[in-house]
């Protein structure tokens, strides 16, 4: 492929991925409300469209038409910049997630990911650590106590859980001997999913992912009873929608990362034994990836409506005294596995 073709193919992939995320977020918000209603024995939104399926669209229209209020005590530049940073980080992380194996379309060898980066896993970790800037700036620039406390809580929480997240990923890297997401997926062929080989690392990664996305039981940066709305107390209209969108986009990226690192990515165990032909196999594998992501998203929502919020000191001691030692034990476990079985 020459450079023009590479640019055109990349642009098509970027547009596709962004549209996919936006549509996914719209349905995710709807399903979050429906599932929470189901868990709490309520009805949930059911008026706009068939079974309320257009509820999110209506909400977005409402937010678009609302007045954008910027508090007079705020720092205007940073106040506007904060949701933009949050969105930028949430969307650019998708670049390295592989949706399926390499395919050939119209004679072109196409990778089912936007960018095949050699150090893809580190790229995701680096960008998620940037995500805290959006929240920190939102908290600082609003000129409100509640926002500031939310911002500070969030930065402390994210730094703490990033450590155990990084250490859990180290176990995966030891087994796959690569930082490339596609190679990590390929290393988990058959039943050798990382979730089975290193269950402790799987658990610490999932818990850290919950903390990094600020979802319940780790949503202290926006704990409503104590902090009004946390870091986005002073945000209204589309800027608020920006944070909202970023939170749900982060949920999808966390699910996609868990799938890629621990649940075998797009792989279906022993599908090549069935002899289904290349096209059907590829379609099934891409479908399997999305199915795994959807299940994890359901798991996110399920946990949110089942478990109460941690107290702040509980959150910190869980992060440093439980998750961090566990993730180190996991590295030793994986190293022993490699030594004994020559994996």
């Amino acid at each position: 492929m020459n450079i023009t073709e590479i640019i055109v193919v990349s642009l098509i992939k970027i547009v596709l991925v962004i549209v996919m995320i936006l549509v996914a977020v719209i349905f995710l918000v709807y399903f979050e409300r429906r599932i929470s209603a189901w868990i709490q024995y309520r009805i949930g939104p059911n008026r706009v469209g068939w079974k309320g399926i257009l509820q999110t669209t209506a909400d977005v229209m409402k937010l678009l038409l609302k007045e954008d209020i910027v508090p007079s005590a705020s720092n205007k530049t940073l106040h506007t910049l904060a949701p933009i940073i949050a969105l930028f980080v949430a969307f650019s992380t998708y670049a390295v997630i592989p949706f399926g194996p390499d395919v050939t379309i119209f004679g072109y060898q196409v990778k089912l990911m936007v960018a095949d980066v050699n150090i893809g896993v580190l790229y995701v970790l680096a960008l998620t650590s940037l995500g805290v800037y959006g929240i920190t700036f939102a908290g600082y620039s609003s000129g409100s106590k509640y926002s500031l406390l939310g911002g500070i809580r969030s930065s402390a929480q994210m730094i703490s859980y990033e450590v155990s997240m990084g250490f859990s990923v180290a176990g995966v890297l030891l087994l796959s001997e690569s930082l490339n997401p596609q190679k990590i997926v390929l290393a988990q062929s058959g039943w050798m999913w990382n979730a089975i080989l290193q269950p402790i690392g799987f658990i610490t990664f999932v818990v850290s992912a919950f903390a990094e996305t600020n979802r319940l039981p780790f949503d202290l940066p926006e704990a409503e009873p104590e902090l009004v709305g946390g870091y986005h107390t002073e945000y209204s209209s589309m800027k608020f929608a920006g944070f909202f969108l970023a939170e749900y986009a982060n949920m999808i990226i966390a699910s996609a990362m868990i799938t890629t690192l621990y649940l075998g990515g797009w792989q279906i165990p022993y599908i090549d034994k069935l002899g289904l032909g290349v096209t059907l196999t590829t379609l099934l594998q891409v479908g399997a990836f999305f199915l795994k992501v959807i299940f994890l998203l359901f798991f996110f929502i399920w946990v949110r409506w089942s478990i109460p919020r941690f107290r702040y000191d509980q959150l910190m001691s869980l992060g440093w005294k439980v998750m961090f030692p566990l993730s180190i034990i996991n590295i030793i476990w994986v190293a022993c596995l490699i030594m004994i079985f020559n994996l």
Partner: protein, 165 residues
């Protein structure tokens, strides 16, 4: 000027401009914020030079860790205890002389050195080589640095504990 040069000068300009704002800005939060762009500019140059691992670690450690801790400290002291942190300029003349001498030294080193050049090649990933070098040839330095960081960590913890008692 080739595409390579244009990209290099773009990142160099970002680095230098934001670095200038870091030292001249009166508001320390703005300084910290433009430091973000300085780190990004440097990371961009690393990518351009084919050092992918160093580039991403630059962002992971400096932007994701150190700068956040810095902002954390600024936010806590600035907004909660009402201490107004301002940066000012003192000792202009000695500073200017020192900077001038240093810049002269660097420039002369740059001009007089006979640089070894070789034709450019497509960069390959450096992660494996770096990892191997770190645990073979440079293992002593690597572990000493680890101990140094551990000492700093224990020191910080003991200082924080002492004030509590």
């Amino acid at each position: 000027m080739s595409l390579y040069d244009i990209i290099f000068y773009l990142f160099a300009a970002i680095t230098i401009l934001s670095g200038f704002i870091v030292v001249t800005s009166k508001n320390i939060v703005y300084s910290a914020f433009s430091l973000l762009f300085t780190f990004f500019g440097v990371a961009g140059i690393y990518v351009l030079l084919g050092a992918d691992f160093i580039a991403i670690v630059q962002i992971l450690v400096y932007v994701g860790g150190i700068l956040i801790l810095l902002l954390f400290g600024v936010m806590l002291t600035n907004k909660i205890t009402n201490v107004d942190i301002r940066t000012g300029t003192i000792h202009v003349l000695p500073g200017a002389v020192a900077v001038g001498v240093l810049m002269g030294l660097l420039l002369s080193a740059m001009v007089w050195t006979e640089w070894k050049t070789q034709p450019s090649e497509t960069p390959v990933t450096t992660t494996v080589t770096l990892g191997r070098l770190l645990i073979t040839d440079y293992i002593l330095i690597f572990e000493l640095l680890g101990i140094l960081l551990l000492i700093a960590l224990i020191g910080a913890a003991s200082i924080a504990r002492r004030e509590q008692e």
